[in-house]
Symmetry: C2
Subunit: 316 residues, 2 copies
Amino acid sequence: MATLTVPQSVPSAAEDCEQLRKAFAGWGTNEALIISILAHRNAAQRKLIQETYNQSYGEDLLKALEKELSSDFERAVLLWTLVPAERDAFLANEATKMLTASNWVIMEIGCTRSSHDLFLVRQAYHARYKRSLEEDVAYHTSGDFRKLLVPLVSAFRYEGPEVNMILARTEAKILHQKISEKAYSDEELIRIVTTRSKPQLNATLNHYNNEFGNAINKDLKANPEDEFLKLLRAAIKCLTCPEKYFEKVLRLAINKMGTDEWALTRVVTTRAEVDMQRIKEGYHRRNSVPLDRAISGDTSGDYEKMLLALIGHGNA
Amino acid sequence: MATLTVPQSVPSAAEDCEQLRKAFAGWGTNEALIISILAHRNAAQRKLIQETYNQSYGEDLLKALEKELSSDFERAVLLWTLVPAERDAFLANEATKMLTASNWVIMEIGCTRSSHDLFLVRQAYHARYKRSLEEDVAYHTSGDFRKLLVPLVSAFRYEGPEVNMILARTEAKILHQKISEKAYSDEELIRIVTTRSKPQLNATLNHYNNEFGNAINKDLKANPEDEFLKLLRAAIKCLTCPEKYFEKVLRLAINKMGTDEWALTRVVTTRAEVDMQRIKEGYHRRNSVPLDRAISGDTSGDYEKMLLALIGHGNA
């Protein structure tokens, strides 16, 4: 359930481009106009706007936006405007760079996109960076993190609903045994988490819970500060219950001393067209504050307006 | 360079189906007619024939062929008739089954198909087996073999010509160091072999040869009988010089006491539309016997005729 709202009658891409051009023209930029257009177009429409802009004005729309905008607002508009596969390729590439390295972003992309969408990210990555996604992830990670992240971004999981209950039982036992031995990066554990279909993994984890009395993520909390265990728990959450994971990322980003704008922008721009409605509901439930109010309290100006537009603030 | 020959004027799929139907009809089967049609149609044409056959007679062509044919000839016709992605999915699946397990076939598919073709195999695998290719490979392998094979079949290597010579130098050193330490399944070595683009890997191996005085596969022969080293050498050969690899598979299949028909059929059916011309040239050079004469000496009947048709016997 997306929170993106698109007007009932959408102007043509040419009209949108003309308006954007106006917003850029002269002294100062009309940020409100930019938001009123881009924050209310879906991925296909934004793609068409980019193509049309390029044809009409011989200039890349993203470059024009970069020139006109700045700071958090700029990042939110640029990330949002990119089509999903290119946005993910961009985020993943950033996450493999030294100063912006993030195992979390890589894990998120590997675990929460559909198999087909993840493949589109890998294609976009080739086109833009002349290397493969898994190549850069493998190069910029090591040890246990590499063992987990490379198969996560290389996976092409089966997506049918079929579940093998006998297998779920066997693999729940394997998981339990490895965790009891504190062999958290054991190759069997990694294999199960990184290759099984999401419904199959879910069945395995349900069986784990029923048979051994704890949810697996509770048993993976033996050492709550261990960075690898944190990532592994997050991966399991992303694979089985992504809305809950994203709710928590938002919660931590907003409650932090000094908001974590990167996380906030990332979650809002990547989920607004996917499951932001559910994330908002979960956020409200968990924090007793609606997400839009929390965002308003922590951000300001055009950046605030952009985020609120994307999460459907003011809609029925 | 393919060896497949397609007549200048190809009958319609409906006409081909009618002829095939005739070949199956009555007492006995007209094998020559089957060969004259199927062994001279490309993948797209064979696919259309399958679809047309199904529509016209409400029967699966492959099932009909299975009923009519037997033994090595049957396997050759069936494998050949399948479109490449489905054929590879079938071979890979077979290679993960207990009685037909083969790390070699899995490696071959992971290393010698283009990135896009390998992705098509993974899609075909989902459709046919309701699981993912990497899932089955991971489940049915273990230890060093799993460490090598899972990333090989999950890879989506970049295919552009760009080569980074500084990286080639650095990674040649890493490879040399790991091999000197006999750390043949070291994660850095596996990373380089399984994620780099083929041109990049080639540059690295050239540098290795120049700098350290031996081709890498020579240094990987420390223990010639070690099964993992054999597979690793073969993978490197497949990634850098697939025709040479396939020539050797054919050589060993034919020279064996009792021909290895499975290998022979696999190589001929999977390469006839790709690079069989080069494989044939290499075979002749290396064995001082043309491949068609070698095959004739080792096989007979319809099976022989089918293979010879596929490798372009009797063509200019």
